[in-house]
């Protein structure tokens, strides 16, 4: 009986295609949007992510996202170092600034100043440049390749290029694989002291203190101890990542705009699939009536239709997923989409959604089949 349903579906290739494409489009749209959404959320915490060695982040009590730091007193570092359970503590400076190339290209960049000695907080993948020591040379900075391509569109990565940051010279001495941040795609890593010279302002410009918990100490316990003894806010790396993401969710239009697109995607899916399915069924309603007259039970007709929906769902979803995968596969080679992936959880969730869309559309159309009077076959 299911085979019969499929034959009926293939008997109308245009509608079959319409149904499959409807589901495919919906799948592509939602997979893509939801994955980008999570990608953006990831960017909101990428600086925290990239500083893999730090167990605890210490900041001004008013701060609730890595993107909007508030300066601490310079003495904060020493106070944190004095807390029991702290293996080491290093400063991190973070500020957005303007960067100009010799040719006059201007870009917004995020300067991250790292502990002069340990350089804790720099992403651990060096693409070019031999090691962290390259950053100790005069005016040396490390940038991410995506940022470089913003400054020098279409050019190959090259060390030694000179930039102007706030009237001061900077030389690209290394490339690091940093995830793009929420506030800028160009990331500049440099030792703390030099980072201060690249930005205006006087003393007290420490953004965060990064802490490593001593062996055998739980990060939560260390964070609590730091907070208590310094009066500053201290949270674990995971907690701060969560806070930064929550900040974006609560304070930007991102969830609303992506939510709207996903909602519209579902609506469009139901509209396309539902209307096409409905038309498909209405056009063969006489045949359904004939089948009922012959003695085919409603349950078997339902089975037949569910076979059709299963086909439409699986093939449509498969195509849509393939398209979404291709989008991210080739898209992630571009800098704008760097760090955006098709998340498996999203793929699974969208499959459930696609099933729901087709099922709703099927059941609505199916009502006509279940209620059609078999006696209708005898009427002209």
């Amino acid at each position: 009986m299911m085979r019969l349903g499929l034959k009926m579906l293939f008997g109308d290739p245009i509608k079959c295609l319409g149904l499959v494409l409807g589901v495919a489009l919906c799948t592509l749209l939602i997979c893509q949007q939801v994955s980008i959404f999570f990608g953006l959320l990831g960017r909101a915490s990428s600086v925290v992510n990239d500083a893999a060695e730090a167990d605890v982040w210490v900041m001004d009590p008013a701060v609730n996202t890595v993107d909007v730091p508030f300066p601490l007193r310079d003495t904060a570092l020493a106070r944190v170092r004095g807390v029991d359970g702290v293996a080491w503590a290093v400063p991190l400076f973070k500020q957005n600034t303007q960067v100009k190339t010799r040719r006059g290209t201007l870009e917004n960049g995020l300067i991250v100043g790292l502990d002069d000695v340990s350089l804790v907080g720099v992403p651990d993948t060096f693409i070019m440049g031999t090691s962290v020591h390259d950053l100790r040379r005069t005016d040396a900075i490390a940038v991410n390749p995506a940022g470089f391509r913003l400054l020098y569109p279409g050019e190959d990565l090259e060390l030694g290029r000179e930039l102007e940051i706030n009237d001061r010279r900077a030389v690209i001495a290394a490339f690091v694989e940093a995830s793009p941040a929420f506030s800028a795609n160009l990331l500049i890593y440099t030792p703390y002291a030099r980072a201060l010279t690249y930005t205006n302002g006087g003393r007290n410009r420490l953004s965060f203190v990064l802490v490593k918990a001593a062996d055998g100490q739980a990060p939560e316990a260390v964070a609590a101890a730091v907070a208590e003894q310094t009066g500053l806010k201290a949270v674990t790396r995971a907690a701060f990542r969560g806070e930064s993401i929550a900040y974006v969710l609560a304070n930007t239009g991102i969830p609303a705009s992506f939510g709207t697109v996903v909602f519209l995607g579902v609506l469009i899916g139901i509209a396309i699939v539902g209307l096409t399915f409905n038309q498909f069924i209405m056009e063969s309603i006489k045949q359904y009536a004939a089948l009922k007259a012959i003695g085919v039970r409603n349950g078997r007709l339902l089975l037949m239709t569910l076979g059709q929906s299963a086909f439409v769902t699986v093939v449509g979803y498969g195509l849509g997923l393939l398209a979404a995968a291709a989008f991210f596969r080739f898209g992630s080679q571009s800098d704008a989409l760097k760090g955006f992936y098709l998340l498996p959880q999203v793929a699974v969730a969208v499959f459930v959604l696609a099933c729901a869309i087709v099922l709703v559309s099927t059941l609505v159309s199916m009502r006509k089949v279940l209620t059609v009077d078999p006696a209708a076959v005898f009427r002209g």
Binding site: R3, K7, G11, Q287, K292, I294, V296, R297, N298, F378
Partner: protein
């Protein structure tokens, strides 16, 4: 007796718009015969055979098909009963356009849950008996009207129903196809079997010769039969 109906009442609609179509109709169909049901347009022939075929339930009166009181069956059981015992032939053939002739003819067997292989073999055999042996793989739109109606007949007969109900089976056919279809119907549906029966509703006086018995209806009642039904 294949069918015994007594005092059938059936109306449509409500209130002032209500039309009473069957008004205490008595109707019976003997086995081993081809019974024709004739009468002016709108007198209720289609309504009556729909009731007999268990696809329309009467407002009042009793319908017995091969001794089974149809009112005693649930909707699902009634469907099963039709699938086992009845075959339908419609004026518009109502074939599934996406299925080949063999697949169309096999539908009742597939619906019964038989394997596709067995159903298709039986369908091919039925088509062969109806002279369509070479056309089994064709789609309905590749067949002439007469051929399509023969496919519909194959579908109505493939599961060897005891009662075949036809509404204007020749109305969409030319005179010659009509004669052929009726001859085949008589030979295959009855097949000399005294336990089986055929009811044909028709306006088409060119095929009256095929009737073993004519029942005449007028204004919702059976008004005469020739020869009169021999009650056992």
């Amino acid at each position: 007796m294949a069918v015994r109906c007594a005092g059938i009442e059936k109306g449509f609609g409500r209130g002032p718009a209500r039309v009473q179509v069957l008004r205490g109709t008595d109707f019976s169909v003997p086995t081993g015969q081809m019974t024709f049901l004739v009468g002016p347009s709108g007198c209720g022939k289609t309504t009556l055979i729909s009731v007999v075929g268990g696809i329309l339930s009467p407002d009042a009166g009793a319908v017995e098909v091969f001794g089974q009181d149809l009112a005693a069956l649930s909707r699902g059981r009634l469907a099963d009963f039709r699938l086992q015992n009845l075959g339908f032939i419609f004026q518009q053939f109502n074939l599934l356009p996406a299925l080949s002739a063999v697949e169309n003819a096999a539908v009742p067997l597939i619906a019964r849950g038989e394997s596709a292989a067995r159903a298709h073999a039986a369908a091919a055999e039925a088509l062969g008996e109806l002279g369509l042996g070479d056309h089994g793989h064709k789609m309905p739109q590749q067949l002439s009207g007469g051929q399509q109606q023969r496919v519909a007949i194959a579908r109505a007969l493939v599961h060897q129903p005891r009662l075949v109900i036809c509404d204007e089976p020749t109305a969409s056919l030319d005179a010659e196809s009509g004669q052929n279809v009726m001859a085949l119907l008589r030979d295959v549906a009855l097949a000399g079997d005294t336990q089986r029966a055929v009811v044909v509703v028709t306006h088409d006086n060119r095929i009256f010769d095929f009737a073993d018995r004519m029942v005449e209806m007028s204004d919702g009642r059976v008004v005469g039969a020739s020869p009169a039904a021999a009650e056992p």
